[in-house]
Symmetry: C2
């Protein structure tokens, strides 16, 4: 398999964790987002959104969107599971993941922040926008798992909720969000970071890290 990504992309980071947890190897092909490499015609032919990640399987099939890739990995390589079997638990975990993957991360990715700068927002306003998006999403997530004993977001093992949480917390810190306000999320992050699968997927451990 080939994973087209970028070291600092939190959507790529989610997929790297999933591959590591499942013990799957992939060639990592970096596309430098700050240099605009995701808009190269050759890459747009793979991913018409011009976003990372994109997965190519061994037969050349192309899958875009991090959560679609992770659900595909879960269906084709089910062990260890990243979702439990119970439909209601699966729904709760997907909802947590989507609170970050739909309503948080897309509001503060490079493309959207670039658009805000184009419109004329100052650097300070752009950072405050990104911090706001992170605070809103993470606050809701803190409440969603308030009654979950953990240590991970949902139970004793990592799920797709943790795959979305750890990269999002890294973003939140980068934008100056006071993450101490989210003790339950930090507990899950600490459990995750003890696992080699998460540690090896971190941005600073990638070959394209700057």
């Amino acid at each position: 398999m080939k994973l087209h990504g970028y070291f600092r992309s939190s959507a790529s980071y989610r997929v790297r964790i999933a591959l590591n947890l499942k013990g799957l190897g992939a060639d990592h092909l970096p596309h430098h987002l700050r240099k605009g490499e995701q808009r190269d015609p050759a890459y747009l032919a793979l991913n018409p959104q011009g976003l990372v990640p994109t997965l190519q399987d061994d037969q050349g099939a192309i899958i875009t969107q991090s959560l679609a890739i992770i659900e595909w990995l879960e269906e084709t390589d089910p062990e260890p599971p990243l979702l439990p079997k119970d439909p209601l638990r699966r729904a709760k975990i997907r909802a947590f993941a989507m609170a970050l993957a739909c309503d948080t991360h897309p509001l503060q990715n490079l493309k959207v922040l670039g658009r805000l700068r184009q419109i004329g927002l100052s650097e300070e306003q752009v950072t405050e926008w990104a911090a706001w998006a992170n605070r809103e999403g993470l606050s809701a997530c803190e409440t969603l798992i308030a009654d979950e004993p953990g240590p991970f977001c949902f139970g004793a093992k990592p799920t797709i909720a943790d795959l979305c949480l750890v990269p999002q917390l890294a973003n939140a810190r980068r934008f100056g969000v006071e993450v101490a306000a989210f003790p339950r999320l930090l507990k899950a992050e600490a459990a995750a970071k003890n696992l080699k699968a998460f540690a090896d997927a971190a941005p600073e451990r990638q070959p394209d890290a700057e």
Copy 2:
């Protein structure tokens, strides 16, 4: 079941279509987003994001996030299926749905547009922002299914891709996007709108429509 929603919310609209396609009844409980009813403490206790929709099942269990609700419906009431069995097809369909549900709709929902106004953007700039988000997402989706014969997004029957597409096209038109640029998407929309399940889910057909 109870579905907390809002007639014009495209995320609620997706779930209404899914319920109709599966022949499932639900009490529809409207929350007037423009009046801020989604921020009532009683509603926030159900959905800490303060977004619609929220589903409560007959046992009182709560599920948030439209795509998590739809995946749960698919797992608990599999007929008729909204996703095929083949993992790669499922991944392609989920990726299309998420290009809209993650990277398009959340950039132009009421909450985000309200924030842009707070920052000081003019009404014209806010509309142009929303139109941009729709154009970017729909353009990518047009390419994603360019080679799909249809008539629906992925084949002869509706899938979760169509559930996301039809509400998004309604938004795009509301923001002045020239949707004639997306003939393949319009073909899928036309097929969908011929189905009673889609027609009955339309915003203007809901009891809280204004």
